[in-house]
Amino acid sequence: MITEAFPAAHLPQPGPLPNDLQLTPDGQLRHLLTIEGLNRELLTEILDNAESFANMNEKAVKKVPLLRGKTVVNLFFEPSTRTRTTFELAAKRLSADVLNINVSTSSATKGESLLDTLRNIEAMNVDMFVVRHQQSGAAHFMARHVEPGISVLNAGDGRHAHPTQALLDMFTIRRFKGDFTRLRIAIVGDILHSRVARSQIHALNILQAGEVRVVAPHSLLPAHVEDLGVHVFHNLEEGLHEVDVVIMLRLQRERMEHAHLPSEHEYFQLFGLTQRRLLTARPDCLVMHPGPANRGVEIDSAVADGAQSVILRQVTFGIAVRMAVMSMVMGIRSA
């Protein structure tokens, strides 16, 4: 059905995804669309594999030949710098060839449907799609329609999921803090618009984190957020009390159609992370942010650049985590 338009209205809403789509019958990773439904063993396997790649940086040639001859397509319908470049570097360090397609400046503006775009690129004999799209469920839709043997990695779909970001955050936490079961973790800010927060909460639950908190004003929390198994706080000092890790989220001004907030200045007064507020957390509390940070809106520069910040380490680890996921979906063991 070449002419089928991208059925935006019928997209699956965020929610449980049938794992028969992202896993092989014997439980190996075939696509990575969401963290939901993956088990602890598989998440741990991804993190362990990422650990192997994270140790690779001392070589003169920062490459391994695992994906030699494979072609990876970065298909981005939304702008991104960090995610796209770290996916690109990850693919290149695995020796794959990489094609970057920025659709916001391409044929989508000429009316081509997602399915048409997909079929056309498929016809160029590619092996993997890394897709970012403003619609929740876009990666899921592509995974349903690609030819067998082609993998789809979700690099962020609408408000739904951003699984590799959550995995690199888990990798960072494990690197610095070890065992998840003893940890208290606070996710602070714009939970409502955040696919990152959703994926992080699922990952932390699967990895059996001790306590997961979300801290936000009422207007930036999705309805029934408690059902995700988190403790809800509306006051930052209370929410940060004795936490081991604080993850700040970017205030997504571009997704706010309605006035969720009086002003950015007032938001910073109430929910901005400052050195003084960080004192209520544990003294060795990690400060994380998926980037890009709005300095002076959700986080003070002194904290973002401070001793407890691991924000740039997250970027570095993101390459290793994406290498792990890419090599796992391309290296499925035949039974």
Partner: protein, 168 residues
């Protein structure tokens, strides 16, 4: 099964002679995980070498990746010294098809351009699929089809004959 200590003694003697003839005082010893690292350590001790040892995990360089997938628990390769213009003694436990050595050579050259690479193996057996040859050899075996030889260790090191169910 032969006594490993006497095989190692013989390998150490061959190694000494080989590098003496070439006027190389001390090569960089690089072991291939896991068995090759054990043998490399034992050789270094016998030869009194002081330079830090390298370790290679060749999982990322295997030629059967698309068939068998990611190897669980890949240990990081460590090469503490620059390889450029150095003489390298590459050590493995069993030389069989030659594919591991092909992968190890590719990985070595991603770290630098050594002056020479000499291969030392505890056991060489029949079944080569690539033109790879060891210079320093502890013992030679001819095995029946489906039969394999494995090094167990690290303490104590011992060789074991294994019968595989259905060939390889």
């Amino acid at each position: 099964m032969p006594d490993i200590d006497s095989l190692l003694d013989s390998m150490a003697e061959q190694t000494r002679r080989h590098f003496d003839q070439r006027g190389v005082e001390q090569p960089i010893v690089v072991g291939i995980h896991s068995g090759g690292v054990w043998i490399a350590e034992a050789l270094r001790k016998r030869l009194g070498y002081s330079r830090p040892m390298g370790k290679l995990d060749i999982s990322f360089y295997r030629d059967d990746f698309s068939r068998i997938g990611m190897h669980p628990q890949v240990r990081p390769s460590e090469l503490p010294e620059e390889l450029d213009n150095e003489h390298v003694l590459l050590v493995d436990d069993v030389l069989f098809t030659g594919r591991t050595i092909r992968a190890a050579l590719n990985e070595l050259f991603d770290y630098g351009r050594p002056a020479s690479v000499t291969l030392a193996v505890l056991v060489e057996r029949d079944g080569r699929e690539l033109p790879v040859q060891a210079t320093i050899v502890g013992a030679h075996f001819e095995l029946a089809p489906g039969e394999q030889i494995k090094l167990r260790g690290p303490d104590p090191l011992r060789l074991e004959r294994v019968q595989l169910e259905n060939g390889r």
